[in-house]
């Protein structure tokens, strides 16, 4: 099982790094996010920013949220990779070996999550270029990475579970559109929740993206760290892994 998992896991990683387009977009996208979205409040008065987001630096506020929402795309790419393997017959090649469907799921979910973390150092670099300064210790860095990885694992598992029986190219995109928008905007990833209506606050209060964004923001802005958020994100990852494992073991199919 370990042999099959490591083979498929490293295949996911290697394929990413061998695709020049994926690499270029992975590097350029964080800069674009911060340049375009981060600069939208560049001329806002400091008092407005302070009252709206609790900080004078919108890019520093935005960075943890952007990193959190980018973990949503991990799920979409993970399920697209699975559907590609089904369509081109590679899934059949895998399944005609002593590799269980559960192992295939785990390698896709964890491989996709690892791939998603590639953006982390690039985003940090991009934020530094845009003037953000980090005053964090090793523990904070490690906790932030673990939180983002947990978020990515959770979303990758969720997407893989939803698309387990599908062979249609369109499915991951449609599912992504359906899930991404509500989760992104019903969170405090991009804006403070201070002006949310009560029903959005209710969604935001259980939204894993909010938990991840608040944790990262506490590290970057030097606020009190809500360590419990790390536990919440870890639980989210484990529950989604469990659900995805069960669903994939039962429903992952190629014919």
């Amino acid at each position: 099982m370990i042999s099959q998992f490591s083979g498929l896991y490293f295949r996911e990683i290697l394929r990413t790094f061998r695709n020049p387009f994926v690499l270029i977009i992975t590097v350029v996208q964080p800069f674009m996010w911060l340049a375009f979205f981060g600069s939208s409040f560049a001329n806002a008065p400091a008092s407005f920013l302070q009252s709206f987001i609790g900080s004078n630096n919108y890019i520093a506020f935005l960075l943890p949220g952007t990193l959190s929402t980018s973990m949503l795309s991990v799920g979409m790419f993970g399920s697209m990779s699975t559907i590609q393997d089904k369509r081109f017959g590679f899934m059949k090649r895998i399944l005609i070996t002593p590799t269980s469907k559960g192992v295939i799921f785990l390698s896709k979910a964890l491989g996709g999550a690892t791939r998603g973390l590639v953006q982390f150092p690039i985003m940090i670099l991009a934020a530094t270029v845009f003037g953000v300064r980090f005053h964090m210790g090793a523990l904070e860095w490690a906790a932030w990475i673990v939180a983002l990885f947990s978020l990515a694992v959770g979303f990758a598992s969720l997407f893989l579970a939803i698309t387990a029986s599908s062979t249609d190219w369109q499915t991951p995109g449609v599912v992504s559109n359906f899930i991404t928008m509500p989760l992104m905007f019903a969170s405090t990833a991009l804006f403070s929740g201070a002006f949310f209506p009560s029903w959005m606050l209710a969604i935001s209060a259980v939204n894993p993206i909010t938990f991840s964004a608040l944790l990262g923001r506490a590290f970057v802005l030097g606020r009190a760290v809500p360590w419990i958020n790390l536990g919440y994100l870890g639980t989210f990852a484990i529950v989604m892994l469990f659900v995805g494992f069960l669903v994939s073991s039962r429903w992952l199919r190629v014919d």
Partner: protein
């Protein structure tokens, strides 16, 4: 391995959907002796690929039982999959990887530790050793097929399933692959279950052949045994005009006269005896070509099903329609 490499009893497979159900395999029973090249011959849609899907554990059987390499397909699927190799109709490799990396991944999937010496032997055997570290996306179709067979052999399987391995290949590549299949069988002593709808492929490669049609095994045996069942020659006539079927049917020895478009197939006990009488009966200036087929797996299939292996039923109707149209317009 002694005895049967694959044993199948009353195996059935039904695909169910909202629109109804399709019985893809119906009470299939086969014994495939270890160390043989066994051919499953049949037209498209006969159930060949479905049988491979069931035997490799990709698709669950609806009924019956099957063992592969001594293990029950239904209850010991992982053990079966550790002992089989698979060569697909379409080449399935990871194009982002080199030949050696594809072998590495296959070794991982088969949980092999000391795989590299074996991989080197296979790369050399298939003449891929000089391109071992090149990405396979740059390989020719023949090289890709060779690599796929190397992947199937890496873990020294007891049985290799080859699902229409030469479909879509040019003649030269197909011949090369035939040599490889024969060589692999002799060199590595592996049992091969090969599906094909190419008659000549089954005749050239297989020790034993089962003919499958509409999910049923309709005959099986060695190619010689199957051909011995037919005891007939087929005389084919390509003519400009329709034949007088009642007159030709009346010639002694004629068993059947059938139209296939503008071609006529006459089944007879002996072509040598028929031809003088036939040429005396028809207008020879309307004949464009005469060919004689001795007993072959094609005639066996024709004899059993009433149609040729590459000839799907709707297509036959269309050809008949146009043949009749041409005759009416011409005549």
């Amino acid at each position: 391995m002694n005895g049967s490499a694959i044993s199948i009893r009353d195996l059935s497979k039904v695909y169910r959907s909202k629109g109804g159900s399709v019985k893809a395999l119906d009470s299939v029973s086969l014994e495939i002796p270890a160390g043989t090249v066994f051919g499953l011959l049949g037209p498209n849609g006969a159930g060949k690929t479905t049988l491979i899907k069931v035997l490799t554990g990709i698709s669950p059987m609806t009924g019956g039982e099957a063992t592969v390499a001594g293990f029950d397909v239904r209850t010991d699927s992982l053990k079966v999959r550790a002992r089989i190799g698979w060569v697909a109709a379409e080449v399935i490799l990871d194009d982002d990887f080199s030949a050696r990396e594809n072998l590495w991944l296959q070794a991982k999937l088969q949980d092999l530790e000391d795989w590299e010496p074996r991989a080197d032997v296979l790369l050399k055997y298939f003449d891929l050793d000089r391109r071992a570290d090149d990405k396979v996306s740059g390989f020719s179709t023949g090289m890709r097929k060779k690599l796929e067979i190397a992947l199937a052999l890496l873990h020294q399987p007891a049985v290799i399933f080859m699902d229409e391995p030469t479909i879509g290949l040019d003649v030269n590549t197909r011949r090369m692959l035939w040599e490889i299949v024969t060589g692999v069988h002799k060199e590595f002593g592996v049992t091969v279950l090969l599906t094909t709808h190419y008659i000549e492929e089954a005749e050239a490669l297989c020790d034993r052949v089962a003919i499958i049609d509409h999910g049923h095994i309709i005959a099986q045996g060695t190619p010689a045994e199957l051909k011995a069942r037919v005891k007939a020659d087929i005389v084919r006539l390509d003519t400009d005009e329709a034949l007088d079927v009642p007159r030709i049917s009346a010639i002694p020895g004629v068993q059947e006269v059938r139209s296939e478009g503008n071609e006529w197939a006459i089944r007879t006990a002996s072509a040598a005896t028929l031809l003088p009488a036939l040429l005396a009966t028809i207008r020879t200036d309307s004949v464009r070509r005469i060919t004689v087929e001795g007993p072959s797996l094609e005639t066996v299939f024709l004899d059993l099903t009433g149609r040729r292996i590459g000839q799907e039923e709707p297509m036959r109707d269309v050809r008949k329609f146009y043949a009749n149209m041409r005759r009416q317009v011409g005549g």
